[in-house]
Subunit: 363 residues, 2 copies
């Protein structure tokens, strides 16, 4: 855990001198790397809500900086409250958002108003540094599993879903950190990237990350997972998480549950890359996690570029069609082989509680 | 089984006087209803191979007419052989193609060459008429199930995948016939249409059929099936089939297996609309069914229309990306609640064999 993520890109760069954040506008990927600068809390909230940036850990970090930006304008108790509320309302599912805001608030609310913005910025920077270290530790824990598969099979075909990559975090990525470390030590890695309709984060973001790092990968439609597992073409599945309940139920991108079922039916190990801020110790079970429902235009249309590199949003359904668009689902703990955390891999909810010195989830 | 399918469209219309077929070019749906005329066997083969038309029963019917068209040019034994081979090579998975060609060949090869084309045309017409009757019978068998659900729950939320509709057959559709009959008798039906990447037959074709018949429906991305079943929003799944082995394993559009797993995990009944020509009695198990692999451009791009109704094909992956694109998967018989045939519903392979007076699949 010494060298940093060797990626040539960072989803987020903060500049204390100017009190600004530069983020990759992920809506333009994989066709263009477009940077946007965030200089106020409203823009930070918009970046989260409209998904210029996404990914549970990155949402948390951007929200933390957003809170600092809000406090620069109004550091009063009222201002602190209002900013927390506004930022918390941007997206409902990822618990890292609440976690980061509560952490920053916990530090600054005891301070005199004129010190709050600065202290919040420092805390946000700390969240970023910790997230990078957490992801690298997750990488090393997961790497051990990949080494074992490589030794046994002479190949490591890893399926992933959505983007729990460097673009979803402050560096490395929760699901991808083990892959990046495995690739660095030349394990025979091949990544099967599930495209992840409706927003295609697999095709748009994870594929782009793989291409950036020259890792061999193949795209697939989401519903091809079952067949590929039936055919023995998948050695392991690893995904990220947006919130994990204390019983080990995993809320993650829509389609994760379907993949976990297919993995279970075919004896394929199913792992979740899981930084501890994604664990919601207050929730007994995944059934209590609020699932974000988004606009149906995401299902009814697809965005991409034509042969002349011109951007288009095309309708794929009849005029007047309606769609249902839940962004996440919940994978029951019984389908999860291991929760890969910065403190090691937990195979059960009890083991997870033990890793983090929590009361057993059964009590 | 008296009234015909009340649809205002037919996937296929044959004209004996001109020896031509008019088919809906399904690549233009749902944005436009474009008809194409097929007047020779090469065009019939191209229509199947390039998916102007698709769906196992419809492929069989078009191939049968294609064989007649070939025999008009060359009715010799050599010509018959060559035409069968060419048409059979168009697509590998649906067994109806082989079934229809063998049926026509079986009738015509005993005839003098100058009678063959005409006899083949008659046989093709008979295949069409039978397919319509088969689908209507499947409809009545399935309707009984839907009535039961409606009586019990006061609603019938049916999920389907791909298009096993009127557009996949000569009329009614294998999975949709029960829905059309249910709608005609005003059961409280709502259809959940899985979009079916990569070619989006759900969004493009099934949604269009529902809209044509004014049946309430909602589109979803393929990987939302699990969540919707977890939430209790699905009362029943019904899909079509491209080939069923005699042990009851069902080969159907990629993603069917994933849906069957989700249905099984949530206690949702999973039915397959299955005309008998789709049963391959020569195959012991679904493992022996050849799975068609198609070009990766279907995964890497999406076709649709922009706001000005202009057609575009847009790339959704980074330049240079590769994809895997199997068109079908195999759902093990253990996950199937019932095979809905023209002779009734079979819950097991043994029951299926009995319905069609075949030797038990266990022998």
């Amino acid at each position: 855990m010494t060298a940093g993520d060797p990626a040539s890109y960072r989803a987020l760069r903060s500049a204390r001198a100017t009190h600004t954040l530069d983020v990759i506008d992920q809506r333009a990927l994989p066709h263009a790397v477009r940077m946007v600068t965030i200089a106020d809390a409203d823009t930070a909230a918009r970046a989260i809500r409209d998904m210029w940036i996404r990914g549970a850990p990155l949402i948390g970090a951007v929200a933390a900086f957003g809170l600092s930006l809000a406090l620069q304008r109004d550091p009063s108790d009222v201002g602190l409250d209002a900013a927390c509320r506004m930022l918390l309302a941007t997206r409902p599912t990822a618990v890292n958002l609440r976690w980061a805001l509560e952490r920053v608030r916990g530090v600054v609310q005891a301070l005199p108003p004129d010190e709050r913005a600065d202290a919040a910025w420092s805390q946000a920077e700390r969240i970023v540094a910790e997230d990078i270290a957490i992801n690298e530790a997750i990488g090393h824990a997961g790497l051990a599993v990949l080494r074992g598969i490589a030794a046994e099979r002479g190949r490591v075909n890893v399926m992933t879903h959505c983007n729990a990559g460097a673009l979803a975090t402050c560096g490395w990525g929760t699901a991808t950190a083990p892959l990046y470390l495995a690739h660095a030590e030349r394990l025979p890695l091949h990544v099967l990237v599930s495209e992840t309709r409706p927003r295609l984060q697999g095709a748009n973001l994870t594929a782009w990350e793989m291409a950036q790092r020259r890792i061999p990968y193949t795209l697939l439609v989401d519903s091809a997972s079952g067949l590929l597992m039936q055919r023995g073409e998948v050695d392991l599945v690893i995904v990220g998480a947006d919130r994990v309940a204390r019983n080990g139920d995993v809320c993650n991108k829509i389609g994760t549950y379907d993949k976990a079922l297919a993995a279970h039916d075919n004896g394929v190990p199913f792992y979740v890359g899981l930084p501890s801020p994604t664990i919601d110790w207050t929730l007994a079970s995944g059934r209590d996690i609020p699932i974000e429902a988004r606009g149906d235009d995401e299902v009814l249309t697809v965005a991409g570029r034509d042969e002349r590199d011109e951007a288009h949003v095309v309708a794929v359904a009849p005029a007047g069609a309606r769609a249902i668009n839940y962004a996440f689902d919940v994978t029951p703990a019984r389908l999860v082989t291991g929760l890969v955390t910065e403190r090691g891999i937990a195979g059960t909810a009890a083991a997870l509680a033990q890793l983090f010195h929590r009361t057993s989830p059964c009590t």
